[in-house]
């Protein structure tokens, strides 16, 4: 049970924090079609976070609500990977992050469709459909930017270099086949985008601890402050 709860919280936190970064893109996208698509992805992930938190609160015995998880935990209780909390860069960085994130998440959720807990399995099944679309969206943009103009190619390359140091963390303590699947998909997309797989160094953990242990980057504190500001300033309020 504690492991199940932890799984739900970790996957919920990934979704909530990635959704937060997508929310910050709102009104800043390059085209209206992308406004709609990014909001859509943000909404899907927000929905996944809500289901996962609710499940976590039910199985961990605390009875915490989705809002308790989102608004009343401290930074060190958030278990998301550092990739999702990085400050937003340009559109290419967003595409790179979303491509990496959704390729990884799709592989994770696909395996959870047959998970022992039926609620998590159902959440995963719904998530697989959604994240398949997210990955396709990111992959299409990666190819357009990589195989677009010289400038967009350079931006796409730089975007990948920005997020790549945090990729290893996604596969830390995971079954090796997950990484194999990820590398295979990324390889195909990058090849279509006429781009090489990045060779930048991994970003270190903090004495062996990473996002999944509640140890984050300095960007996370500001994200949490923003996320929780209204909720924290109004204790006891119902919205």
């Amino acid at each position: 049970r504690p492991e199940l709860a932890r799984l739900c919280v970790a996957l919920g936190d990934d979704a909530l924090v990635m959704s937060h970064r997508l929310q910050q893109w709102c009104t800043n996208a390059p085209e209206l079609e992308d406004e709609v698509a990014l909001a859509n992805i943000g909404l899907d992930l927000l929905g996944q976070a809500r289901w996962l938190y609710t499940r976590a609160g039910a199985v961990d015995g605390t009875g915490r609500s989705e809002d308790d998880f989102a608004f009343l935990r401290s930074e060190s209780e958030f278990l998301n990977v550092r990739l999702v909390e990085l400050p937003n860069g340009d559109f290419a960085e967003l595409v790179a992050r979303l491509l990496v994130f959704s390729t990884w998440r799709l592989a994770v959720l696909t395996r959870l469709v047959s998970y022992v807990d039926p609620v998590v399995a159902a959440i995963a099944a719904k998530g697989v459909k959604e994240v398949t679309y997210h990955r396709d969206y990111a992959a299409r943009w990666c190819v357009r930017l990589g195989d677009g103009t010289a400038y967009s190619r350079e931006r796409m390359r730089a975007g990948l270099d920005t997020v790549w140091p945090f990729v290893w963390e996604l596969f830390d303590r995971a079954e090796p086949d997950l990484r194999v699947e990820f590398d295979e998909v990324l390889g195909r997309v990058l090849s279509a985008a006429t781009l090489a797989v990045p060779t930048v160094a991994d970003r270190a953990d903090v004495l062996g601890k990473v996002g999944r242990d509640g140890v984050h980057t300095e960007a996370m504190g500001y994200l949490i402050a923003d996320l929780q500001s209204v909720a924290r300033a109004n204790p006891g309020a119902v919205w």
Binding site: L16, H20, Q23, Q24, C26, T27, N28, A29, P30, E31, L32, E33, D34, E35, V36, A39, N40, G42, L43, L46, G47, A49, R50, Y53, E66, D67, A70, F71, D90, F91, V143, R144, L145, D147, G148, T149, Y151, S152, R155, D226, L227, S229, V230, A231, N234, G236, A237, V238, W239
Partner: protein
Amino acid sequence: MTATVEEHFEATVAADQRIEPRDWLPDAYRKTMIRQIAQHAHSEIIGMQPEGNWITRAPSLRRKAILLAKVQDEAGHGLYLYSAAETLGADRTELTELLISRRQKYSSIFNYPTLTFADVGVIGWLVDGAAICNQVPLCRSSYGPYARAMIRICKEESFHQRQGYELLMTMMRGTPEQQAMVQEATNRFWWPSLMMFGPPDGDSPNTAQSMAWKIKRHTNDDLRQRFVDMSVPQAEALGVTLPDPLLAWNEDRGHYDFGPIDWSELKRVIAGDGPCNAERVERRRRAHEDGAWVREAASVHAAKESER
């Protein structure tokens, strides 16, 4: 031939039927229609900003999802409307240029800041409420693509309005601080909402032609009165006071009387020096300019693909 198509146009409009993109239409009608649709589209897009300001800070995940979905709908409305304008020969990129160079307007209401989460609710209740009053008649606009877009938009706006009102209801049942927040937001948005119907009829030069063309179906003052009559009982149900001491039921008119509107306020905001005009246009400009290389890459890539 020209006589025939003109007659067809006049007859179609007179019969309350719809002009379609394939039909001939007078240049003045086309221009007026493009301007009307474009300004409506711009309003949807700029209108994303004041509400978008609260998405990351929404204090419950349910409200966050509702708000994000609403702002997404506004982007969608902008898309339909720009498409409708394109059926009249306009170009979306050119219309965006007109917006960010301040040569075309958008609804002035979006030049007020959103300062608390209650503003999200009040915008749903009052601003969407006023927009619906303005827009329901447009579902019968003589221009077909616009009328059809408006049907869909009005349906979604009504949904947003109910959600906004429901948020306020919840907050009014909450802490004293939440109640005060709702009252304060109402105070800030009431008068600007009344101004959303435009200048008083005596001061509205284009109304007659627009009504003849069935682009517009009610005068500004008529719609404003309708909105006031609708809002007063809603405010009572909510438990907030509308910030107008002269607001009172007039038995003879069968309508609520209300105090004089400060038209100099509206003029100043329309002129461009309102509290947020500079930020709103600047944000839209920055997004457009920051996105230029992305759009260019997409078109270069598409050209490469079609050559392959």
